[in-house]
Amino acid sequence: MDSYQEIIFKLKKYWSDRDCIIQEPYDLEVGAGTMCPETFLRVLGPQPYRVAYVQPSRRPADGRYGENPNRLYKHMQLQVILKPSPADVIDQYLGSLGAIGIDLRKHDIKFEEDNWEAPTLGAWGIGWQVMLDGLEITQFTYFQQCGGIDLDLVPAELTYGLERLAAFLQLKDSIYDVEWGGGATYRDVRFNDELQFSVYNFEMANVETLWKLFDLHEGEAARLLAEYRKLVKPLPDGRGSETATEPRPSGSADKLRFPLLPAYEHVLHCSHLFNTLDARGAISVTERVAVIARVRKIAVGVAQAWVDQQEPDAATRRHGDAASEPAEAVR
């Protein structure tokens, strides 16, 4: 029987053998592997990309003080992005289950419709939840849009729920009984996280402080986006307007070094703060929709600026349209 960590090693090896970059987890708090730049930004634009990584994913509202055997404040996802999606993508996926010892001839596997949508990211896709003997083990999504932008190449996203998969393979009724490796159980490694973050998120998080942090991060992201827009806006005297044909090399260089990735980190902080405030019951009905819209605005803004930044030539030709008005370019 494989330990939790051995299952992870095997999956990483499997995807590494299939030309995926194996990334390490993103070092910020995120709600899902999708939100990491390795997915959110890399799926944009025409560049092919294949990557796999484990991402600890935080969902404050799902915390259960370590008491519920199937629910966690923070769970681990194995996130795989195959861009563009190969024609045999499902066979490749099924092969990965074989690699961790699941003999599919002895099991029942079904692909049941489950489309994915993340309003705060302006992202959605079409796909399935993959059911193994009645257990949902993977979300399989063909991305269609991200940051409000139609994707040039349609990537396949595979998101494995690692705790569930391990519990399934190890025949455990509780995630906490999963053998992690090195003689330790999942409980030994993670119980304190679950308990203390549940207490913090539900009982002790200071709402006022969290709001302040939210405002600060939002402000910093917005400031950076505004700075970036100055690089692509036509100059007031008409130079660099629609009719200009010569590229603006200095502008391109300025754009390439512009810190959009740090801007995106502030978006991620906002997203997590929103989730924490929500779990704390601090977001009123009327506020809720508005706060989602605020996060979305900066997330979409980064996505559109990013596309512009990755195509400097196109960007100088196109200044003043989508990249300059991110919030309005998206419905």
Partner: protein
């Protein structure tokens, strides 16, 4: 010569609920193509029956036994210049069709004699026609939510197309969609079958079967029925038919300890979340279930154990939610509804609760209904409903029972979303009916007030279903509330009335099966009290086949026309008996007074029978008496007679709406 044709679109897993519709569409699209291209040979009923469209989650296949090998040649006569035309014009016409002048024919028309040419357009090989047209046919299937899978602006379909089989007789019909070339190679069951299977039309089904694909949805359904025994849940069966290519039923069980949880919760977990068939023994839920796998069996019990473990985890969750939720009474949860949005512009569920309570009070002072209305939405704050949203209402009812609310109250909460469809029953007690009406009425009227009015297929708040539910409860619960009064005080009053009138018409016509003209006739005489509408309809339906009824209805229509032509609105006052002419006119008047006094206070049916008995006198009147009398006073009096007659007897139904033969 005709040939058999087979098309198989091989895809990744299509959502189960879309597959039946896609089958129908493909059949229709191919029929249209056959007709427009003149390639369909099978026209007899027998031949049509040998065509089919079948589907599994991974393929939609169409077979037609008789397709012409070639399109028929087209013969047509092209008219040329007149016989008298200049030589050059005639030769020009002949040249256009590549013939000499003496190969032209002539034809005589009404305008004179003309040259003409009998042109023959050669039919093309069907294989070529299909190669050109099939991509469009396939991509024209409309899906509720299609996707790109190669790149933006690539082909769109419900899920990626991975292979295509297209055969006309022994030949492959060559075409390409999104980089996939058609061929003669299909694919078997994902796990149990071969990935690449060359097929012919003759061995297609048997090759699939060998590779663990049962192509026929009916055959898969039969296999599931055999495994489950008595299937009580046809909807679930249909879902599983389209989630599997090789369905095999396995049986599992769970700890009877879980049976202490309400059956509603257990069944919801099994049915909606795990797609298992619940098992009942002697009317009681048993600690067993059937799961339908997409496999050829589970000899080692591995799949059963896996499913049992998942179910155990789900049941544990449910028990955890139940226990947690009991820490706070429903009554104490009402205030928390301030944090649950009903609709952005319509505020929270706390505000909705207040509106529903007020409406319930307006309907009737029923203390149980008021208590139930107050608690009705509180379960939205429970862990159980957050997890199992489809159990809203039911959970509230169960918790209310647990917390000692009287039976009438907890049942009212339990039932207040009913009827969820036209097949569903209405709430079982009066309080539940009142709360259900108040809740639905609030939803409909508030949405209308802020302009959220259903149009076409757009009805995001399911207002039609809500209004339909109100109608059903009013009629079947025998609740005599003035419906119109409840619809006034709304910015969209007229639209709202029209909306309800449509629902009422639909209910009586499509659900209850009354004839449309009877429904129109009855509704034209008022629809404020729907119980009364039903009584009048039943009476009309019963009296309609009697000999006098339809002729009388025809006469009433005639009366209405006469009054309309005379622009007579009846403001002239009473009939003056002195002006009536002896004979048919006086007879009619006497009979009318007699019928009126006898019909008063009679139930609708005998009243209608009495009214119908007027027919001979009405007929005689129209035979012998000229309404349009030269003397204005007499004319006025006659019109008054007719008008009074019409007005008097139109309170049950407007008979002129009845469609008669003649």
């Amino acid at each position: 010569m005709s040939l058999p044709f087979l098309l198989e679109i091989g895809t990744e897993e299509i959502p189960d609920w879309m597959i039946d519709g896609a089958r129908q569409q493909l059949a229709e699209l191919f029929d249209q193509l056959s007709m427009s291209k003149g390639i369909g040979a099978g026209t007899s009923k027998q031949e049509r029956e040998r065509a089919w469209v079948e589907a599994t989650p991974r393929r939609i296949a169409l077979y037609s036994e008789y397709v012409n090998e070639r399109q028929a040649d087209l013969h047509r006569t092209v008219s040329g210049p007149p016989r008298s035309a200049a030589k050059a014009a005639v030769e020009g016409f002949a040249r256009r069709y590549g013939v000499s002048r003496d190969q032209l024919g002539t034809q005589v028309t009404a305008k004179g004699e003309y040259y003409c040419f009998a042109e023959r357009v050669l039919g093309r090989a069907t294989c070529d026609v299909l190669a050109e047209s099939l991509p469009e046919v396939i991509l024209n299937i409309q899906w509720p939510k299609a996707m790109y899978w190669t790149a933006k602006n690539g082909s769109r379909f419900i899920r990626p197309i991975r292979w295509i089989v297209a055969l006309l007789g022994d030949e492959v019909i060559p075409f390409e969609i999104a980089g996939v070339m058609s061929g003669n190679v299909t694919s078997g069951h994902r796990i149990l079958g071969a990935a690449q299977i060359p097929v012919t039309i003759a061995n297609y089904k048997s090759e699939l079967e060998k590779n663990f694909v049962i192509l026929s949805a009916n055959d898969r359904a039969k296999r599931i029925r055999r495994g489950v025994g008595a299937v009580q849940d046809e909807g679930l069966l249909q879902t599983l038919v389209y989630l599997t290519e090789y369905p095999t039923v396995i049986s599992g069980s769970f700890d009877p300890e879980y049976l202490k949880l309400p059956a509603e919760v257990l069944v919801t977990v099994m049915r909606h979340h795990q797609k298992y068939f619940a098992v009942y023994e002697n009317g009681q839920l048993a600690n067993r279930f059937f799961a339908v796998t997409n496999t050829d069996g589970d000899p080692e019990g591995i799949i059963r154990q896996g499913n049992e473990r998942v179910l155990r985890a789900r049941f544990n969750d449910a028990r955890f939610f139940w226990d947690t939720d009991q820490h706070k009474q429903l009554a104490d949860r009402v205030a928390d509804l301030a944090h649950v949005t009903f609709q952005a512009k319509l505020g929270t569920y706390l505000e909705k609760t207040a509106r529903v309570e007020a409406l319930a009070r307006e309907l009737e002072e029923c203390p149980s209904a008021l208590r139930a209305a107050h608690l009705s939405k509180a379960d939205l704050t429970t862990e159980m409903v957050k997890e199992f949203t489809e159990l809203q209402g039911v959970v509230g009812g169960l918790y209310a029972r647990e917390q000692g609310e009287p039976e009438e109250v907890w049942q009212a909460i339990y039932d207040h979303y009913k009827p969820v469809s036209m097949e569903d029953s209405i709430p079982r007690n009066r309080a539940g009916q009142l709360v259900s009406i108040a809740d639905k009425l609030d939803t409909v009227t508030s949405c209308f007030a802020i302009g959220l009015i259903p149009s076409g297929s757009k009805d995001p708040f399911a207002l039609r279903r809500a209004a339909q539910g109100i109608v059903k409860i009013l009629v079947e619960g025998k609740l005599r509330f003035g419906l119109k009064k409840l619809l006034t005080n709304n910015a969209q009053g007229p639209k709202l009335e029209e909306f309800f009138l449509d629902r009422i018409r639909y209910y009586f016509k499509d659900i209850r099966g009354f004839k449309y003209d009877e429904v129109n006739a009855v509704l034209a005489s008022g629809w404020d009290d729907l119980v009364d509408v039903e009584e009048r309809l039943v009476a009309i339906q019963a009296v309609r086949p009697t000999e006098n009824f339809e002729p009388l209805a025809a006469s009433f229509k005639r009366i209405q026309n006469i009054l309309k032509q005379a622009q007579f609105t009846g403001n002239g006052g009473a009939i003056d008996p002195a002006l009536l002419e002896p004979g048919p006119e006086v007879d009619l008047y006497t009979e009318f007074q007699d019928v009126r006094s006898r019909a008063a206070n009679q139930p609708y049916r005998p009243a209608l029978e009495l009214i119908a008995s007027l027919r001979p006198k009405v007929d005689l009147f129209f035979d012998k008496v000229l309404v349009n009398a030269p003397d204005a006073k007499i004319r006025q009096n006659r019109l008054t007679l007719l008008h009074t007659l019409l007005a008097e007897f139109s309170t049950i139904a407007d008979f002129s709406e009845i469609v008669t033969n003649g």
